[in-house]
């Protein structure tokens, strides 16, 4: 009886005024601190805004958007990159309907990004603006297709697999097709190259990392030794050195007329490097699985492979999502080191832009800030996706 009378209504959530009074103006020294902080914020933001909107000269960026986006990709072939992005937009739209959740957020982001390109307030070719309009449209078309009988997870997965091939064909060209001439990978650059390097590194390093982690915990001595050696050697060497090895030492052992594609070299180096770190991240997750889980799996009659694939890995991977995504973000930013193998990725394109016009030589601050902002957008997207994934899987709430 007493207990029921003790239950009171919980306090109403504080209104803005009450919150300010309570947290900012409660005592005389809090008032003082608030004032000082306000003045500080005012002057800093005034300075920053003034610089961004009045002092800074953004012409190097607005007039070199093509360079930043695709680097040296032949101008008359840029439509192929645009088409590849449209393809991706379409499948994001489709997947939005099929899977929903975070995919939907990214589909929306793609649509909004495309629309933003269409209304950018500087000189852009009509083709680019058309592309900007087409992008949200294709997201919508994808969504509508997703509502038909094609909106099944397996069709979406098949579509993604096919789009990978389609994108590759679009970007590199197809032998014997006159309207898709070969584009040397050396001409890939800018955001396109940064994105491809990171994507291939992420997609390829994940399975290799899982296998290495399993191999390192294996009871077969040779396999264990190989995996341990690989992981420890690669982790003991800086990425710069690995890239140097691939770019400088590899050609020493190849005949002079055999040349490994430079983009491929960078992809190889980054994949191997990331895989070694990935393996250690995943091993952390594997070790955290209580042995009772494995014993229970055996007790219900699962064999070793089933135990690993159905019981151990799903739990282990879920546990290390933050570490894995951290690794992906680091890999994305490590793509800037690809300059060592002679690739003109986003940062290097920035340098080239600064040097492409004498009037821009002193505008390095603007260019580097822009590149920093682009990197932030993509790394934040990854970080956001991982947070959503963790929430969906209920990590940390059990």
């Amino acid at each position: 009886m007493n207990a029921t009378s003790a239950i009171r209504r919980p306090p109403a959530p504080p209104g803005a005024v009450r919150w300010i009074k309570k947290n900012l103006l409660s005592t005389w020294y809090n008032v003082l601190l608030t004032l000082v902080a306000l003045i500080f914020v005012f002057f800093v933001s005034r300075g920053v805004l003034r610089w961004v909107f009045f002092t800074a000269n953004w012409t190097p960026i607005t007039s070199s958007l093509k360079l930043f986006a695709v680097g040296q990709f032949p101008p008359d072939q840029v439509w192929r990159v645009g088409t590849a992005v449209l393809l991706v937009s379409f499948f994001f739209g489709l997947s939005w309907r099929v899977w929903g959740g975070t995919v939907g957020t990214f589909a929306l982001a793609l649509a909004v990004g495309g629309a933003a390109v269409a209304v950018l307030p500087f000189e852009l070719s009509s083709g680019v603006r058309l592309w900007g309009v087409a992008n949200p449209l294709l997201v919508g078309v994808g969504y509508l297709v997703g509502r038909t009988s094609l909106g099944k997870p397996r069709w979406a997965a098949l579509g993604w697999a096919l789009s990978f091939g389609g994108t590759t064909a679009l970007l590199t060209g197809v032998r014997g097709v006159s309207w898709l001439p070969r584009v040397e990978t050396g001409l890939w650059g800018g955001l396109l190259l940064t994105f491809l390097l990171a994507l291939v590194g992420i997609v390829a390093s994940f399975p290799i990392g899982v296998l290495l982690a399993l191999g390192r915990r294996s009871s077969l001595p040779v396999l264990k030794l190989f995996c341990t050696l690989f992981i420890e050697i690669v982790r003991g060497v800086p990425l710069v050195t690995i890239l140097f090895m691939f770019s400088v030492i590899l050609p020493l052992f190849l005949p002079e007329d055999v040349r490994v594609d430079r983009v491929l070299r960078a992809m190889m180096g980054m994949t191997l490097f990331a895989a070694a770190y990935m393996a250690e991240n995943i091993r952390g997750g594997l070790q955290a699985i209580p042995s009772g889980q494995i014993e229970a799996a055996k007790a219900v009659g699962l064999n070793g492979l089933q135990t690993t694939v159905l019981i151990v890995l799903p739990q282990a991977l879920r546990m290390v999502i933050p570490a894995i995504v951290g690794q992906f973000i680091a890999l994305f930013m490590d793509t800037t080191l690809a300059v060592i193998v002679g690739l003109v990725e986003l940062l290097q394109i920035g340098r080239a832009v600064i040097q492409s016009n004498p009037e821009w030589l002193m505008l390095d601050m603007e260019v580097y800030l822009f590149i920093g902002a682009v990197f932030w957008v993509f790394t934040y997207a990854m970080s956001y996706a991982s947070q959503r994934l963790e929430q969906t899987l209920g990590v940390g709430r059990r």
């Binding site: 050396g186 296998l211 040349r259 191997l272 002193m362």
Partner: protein, 380 residues
């Protein structure tokens, strides 16, 4: 136990399938590893008394092989800069342009009659030496100073195409004319480069004092100088001219008439294939001789009818100056000049009075008969 083994076998199987599926990528990796193990073992037995192993010598290409490889490939592979205004940079469409770039295009025009038949490989300063040593590029035209050790270690240098030198930029109103006037001055310079050492040498040898203000990157050097944090800025003269073009008031700054270092910028080729080196040299000489003879990209057609035997030879109208021995067509000279112009045209395109990059007095880069150092053997 047995199950565990089966599981591991399956994992191993997956690994091998994946490796195989990755195709070329992984194959190359394994091949590379194998070679690393085998090469030293075969050549150099392990023993404490042994002298240190020489690095596995690169099998040099025999004469003519590289030209054959280039022709088979259909492109000249040229190691270049992509972010150096005037010499090797990108235009707004992403096309490689610049003084060094046009030298590559000249070679492509000579071999294929197509200045676009070039594959440009952007190289960092650290990577250019190895790229030449391994023969990965057919030609390196990347603002590179010819030095004895580079000649000994990296490859063969061809013809000096640009005489640069470390200079000093000061404000016009400072009235400084000689280094002596700069006694006690502060000088902006990039740190850890030979530029910094040359600066110290130049002042010390004259018994002058100065305060260096060092920066990691080039834009900061010029930014600080323009803001007035230093009395002078030093770098190669071409770089000073480029930086000055970006200043708010370029006319307020002068590049002093002092030269603190010799920087002969020279295209280089991998060692071993003399025919290829001779070919590149001949193309460079053709550019220089064309300016000397007054042949430009505009007047090639008229010059074909010239009475001057030297002009006729260069354009392939009559006679032979060895081009067929080098595997070039008789009229390659006409193709080159038509495609990229003569030496002076290339210079003026980027660095002349109306140059699209900046303006730099030709100075040492005038032809020998105009008081410069640009001189080429006769084509005969």
């Amino acid at each position: 136990m047995n199950r565990k083994r089966t599981a591991l076998l399956v994992v191993l199987l997956i690994v091998s399938i994946l490796l195989a599926a990755c195709g070329q990528k992984e194959v190359i990796v394994t091949r590379e590893v194998e070679v690393t193990r085998l090469a030293p073992a075969g050549e150099c037995p392990e023993c404490p008394e042994c002298p240190p192993c020489p690095e596995a010598p690169q099998a040099p290409m025999a004469a003519g092989q590289r030209l054959a490889a280039v022709k088979g490939r259909g492109r000249v592979v040229c190691g270049v800069h992509t972010s150096l205004l005037g010499f090797g940079y990108l235009d707004s469409a992403g096309r490689n342009i610049g003084f060094d770039i046009d030298l590559c295009r000249a070679v492509a025009a000579a071999v294929f009659n197509d200045p676009e038949a070039v594959e440009f490989v952007p190289l960092t300063a650290a990577e250019r030496g190895p790229a030449l040593q391994t023969g990965e590029v057919d030609m390196l035209s990347r603002n590179m100073t010819w030095t004895s050790s580079r000649e000994a270690q990296w490859g063969n240098f061809t013809v000096v195409m640009f005489y640069d030198g470390q200079g000093m930029m000061v404000r016009k109103d400072s009235g400084v004319a000689t280094l002596e006037d700069l006694d006690g001055a502060t000088v902006c310079v990039t740190t850890g480069t030979t530029t910094e050492l040359n600066l110290a040498d130049a002042f010390r040898s004259r018994g002058l004092n100065f305060t260096p203000v060092t920066f990691e990157d080039t834009p900061s050097v010029y930014g600080a100088y323009e803001e007035g944090r230093c009395d002078a800025a030093t770098s190669d003269k071409s770089q000073l001219a480029a930086a000055r073009a970006g200043f708010a008031n370029p006319a307020d700054h002068v590049i002093m008439d002092v030269t603190m270092s010799k920087e002969p910028l020279t295209p280089a080729v991998p060692a071993g294939d003399d025919q290829w080196m001779d070919l590149v040299k001949t193309v460079m000489w053709t550019l220089i001789n064309a300016e000397e003879l007054g042949i430009t990209s505009q007047n090639v057609a008229q010059m074909m009818g010239s009475d001057n035997p030297e002009v006729k030879r260069l354009l392939g109208v009559e006679g032979d100056f060895g081009q067929t021995d080098l595997g070039l067509s008789a009229d390659f000279g006409a193709n080159v000049i038509r495609a990229v112009g003569n030496y002076g045209e290339i210079y003026d395109r980027y660095m002349g009075p109306q140059g699209i990059a900046f303006t730099l007095d030709r100075d040492l880069n005038w032809l020998w008969k105009d008081g410069g150092l640009i001189y080429a053997p006769p084509l005969r």
